[in-house]
């Protein structure tokens, strides 16, 4: 049950490798695999919601000795999002994939990536977390580097180099942590850590983890690889990477910090708050200056990562819950916006804003569909972005951090500006050429419609979504439940 979100993509990836190379068949199998993943994720979420934290001791090794899979509400919510995004991204391949990519195992790689992401969300073992990071990185490296142009190769190399650097930092931190804690099980570390930690090691470890996860999440000043690489691959790949990978960094940061440094006053949380604020400002200032749809989105993605780490920095249930709500909203909206950029690539082979326009006149229904994620990211009420921002800013104000609330609101205004410009330049203004463009068919619009429907559903079900996020935050901030679920009452202590 708990292992299904990992095993299903693995089985799908293996099947995709073994099947004869017929594009239509491969796409169908990949899509069916995603539907199965979504079903497993929904089942897992329902189970966690009704019966509390789920634990699986892999191979029946008792808790601190083997590898443990754990699903609390936060993990289950994120795995649910993986399923939703998987359906959208594999569904978008019916509209056509570059044949060269398809021949090199595009569909199988997507499922390997999904496996890595689900594994990272579900594992309860810190070294296993590193392994899942590597699984998803290798898949994303290959997806990124199936390219020919110079700009694309350059982007791939930046991406590979910096992500490997971040992995080395993570491995260093894990090594130091093991040296002191003597165990790799996250719950066991959390239990043993208070008596073994020393101030010096705390400082070193918190900075190493912050660097490693911050690089993956795209926090200032470690985000430069992201806008330099996310605008080059095909739309479906950048949608997948943008929707999932940075959120894995945010997830890992929240998970490890809440278990390892459960003291709200720690200096590292002040650092995280300042970095979040600077990330928001720098990301959005970068977005304002861009003349390309996907580069604008990439900078917006970076800027809004700030909103998802604020909750960790404030360390209050309301703030962390708000950030979790923000992560969920952001995954939906960013994925759909990168898929929208695929519409422009299909029509004009570019996402340069100066060459776009006229979509509203030619296909108003599609334009209205694209409007929902654009305005939702901008935070226009009553869409999901408004609700998530309200939750975060409300919690920031409740914590008396007025400067931070001010920064968040100014950044929201900049987002409105940036999104309004995207809407105006890419969709609203008349087409700069008279050439007739290919009409966008159902196959390429359907995945966007699926995500837009969920964004609207998120808006309608704002109350329950807010409630779930708050309960997830409460679970995270009180590690006792997590430790008890994994280790039980009388679990043996780690060997050393």
């Amino acid at each position: 049950m708990l292992a299904l979100p990992v095993l299903l993509p693995l089985a799908t990836a293996i099947a995709l490798h073994l099947l004869p190379h017929r594009p239509r068949l491969l796409r169908l199998v990949a899509f069916a695999g995603s539907l199965a993943l979504l079903a497993a994720a929904i089942a897992l979420f329902v189970r966690v919601e009704s019966a509390g934290i789920q634990v699986l001791q892999v191979g029946s090794w008792a808790a601190p000795f083997g590898i443990t899979l754990v699903a609390d509400l936060f993990s289950a919510l994120l795995v649910l999002m993986v399923g939703i995004i998987a359906v959208a991204v594999t569904g978008s391949s019916f509209a056509g994939v570059d044949p060269r990519r398809e021949a090199f195992g595009y569909h199988a790689l997507i499922h390997v990536l999904l496996m890595g992401v689900s594994g990272a969300f579900l594992t309860g073992d810190i070294f296993n977390l590193y392994v899942w990071f590597e699984v998803m990185l290798i898949a994303s490296f290959v997806l990124m580097s199936l390219h020919r142009t110079r700009a694309q190769l350059h982007a791939a190399f930046t991406y590979v180099g910096l992500n490997l650097l971040s992995s080395a930092f993570l491995l260093t931190a894990i090594g130091l942590l093991y040296g002191q804690a003597g165990t790799l099980n996250l719950a066991d570390i959390a239990r043993a850590w208070p008596e073994r930690r020393t101030p010096g090691l705390d400082a070193a470890l918190s900075m190493l983890f912050l660097t490693a996860f911050g690089l993956k999440a795209g926090l200032f000043p470690l985000f430069f690889w992201l806008p330099a690489s996310y605008h080059t691959p095909p739309a479906a790949v950048s949608a997948l990477l943008a929707g999932l990978l940075t959120k894995v960094g945010v997830y890992a940061m929240i998970r490890v910090f809440t278990l390892l440094f459960p003291d709200p006053g720690a200096r590292v949380y002040g650092v995280i708050l300042v970095l979040s604020a600077v990330t928001m400002v720098v990301g959005l200032l970068g977005a304002i200056g861009q003349l390309d749809f996907r580069r604008t989105l990439s900078f917006n993605l970076v800027g809004h990562i700030g909103f998802t780490t604020v909750g960790l920095g404030l360390w209050t249930p309301a703030a962390l819950g708000g950030s979790i709500l923000y992560v969920l909203h952001h995954m939906l909206v960013v994925t759909s916006l990168f898929l929208v950029s695929g519409l422009f690539l299909r029509q004009r082979r570019t996402t340069d804003l100066r060459a776009l326009g006229g979509l509203y006149r030619s296909q108003p229904a599609v334009a209205c569909l694209a409007m929902v994620p654009l305005f939702s990211l901008a935070g226009i009420p009553p869409l999901s972005g408004f609700i998530a921002k309200l939750a975060v800013v409300g919690a920031v104000l409740a914590g008396n951090h007025y400067w931070l609330a001010g920064v968040a609101l100014v950044v929201s205004l900049l987002t409105v500006l940036s999104m309004a410009r995207l809407w105006d330049e890419a969709i609203w203004k008349p087409s700069p050429t008279d050439a007739s463009l290919p009409r966008l068919g159902v196959a390429i619009v359907a995945p966007i419609a699926w995500l837009v429907a969920l964004t609207l559903g998120f808006t309608v079900a704002a109350g329950p979504a807010y409630g779930v996020s708050m309960r997830a935050a409460a679970q995270l901030l009180d590690a006792r439940g997590y430790i008890h679920a994994v280790l039980g009452e009388d679990a043996p202590r780690a060997a050393r």
Binding site: F127, Y130, V131, E134, L137, I138, F141, V142, S145, R148, R150, A151, L153, H154, A155, A156, F157, V160, G161, L164, L165, S167, A168, L171, T172, I174, G175, L176, Y178, G179, Q180, L184, A228, D292, A495, R496
Partner: protein
């Protein structure tokens, strides 16, 4: 022994990071491999080194501190395997870049539009 390993790890980190700051692809890749080997040595040193006491346990009950801890060794083994795979990929990528661009200067590869 720990001191020696710590110094080795530090030197490997320093050399690896220095090489990663260079502009040539080959040096970047060598830097990456030095860095990952540095972290392997660090894991060994941080977990403590026990000399000539392999964890091959035959007696029914033994004390844990009488044997070397096998966990860091298995971590390093896993990290070496992963590092090897990643390194092979990076080499192939560098080879493709070199073949299509004809240089290994990173800045000369992509006129990155800003």
């Amino acid at each position: 022994m720990e001191l020696l390993l710590a110094v080795v790890a530090g030197v490997l980190y320093a050399a690896g990071l220095y090489l990663m700051l260079r502009r040539r692809l080959g040096q970047l890749i060598i830097g990456l491999s030095l860095l990952s080997n540095g972290s392997n040595v660090l894991i060994l040193a941080a977990a403590g080194v026990t000399r000539a006491k392999p964890p091959l346990i035959t007696a029914v009950s033994v004390r844990a501190d009488q044997f070397a801890d096998p966990v860091p060794q298995s971590l390093i083994l896993t990290a070496i395997v992963i590092g090897f795979g990643v390194l092979a990929f990076a080499l192939v990528l560098a080879h493709r870049v070199h073949r299509s661009v004809g240089t290994d200067d990173i800045d000369a590869i992509g006129p990155d539009r800003v």
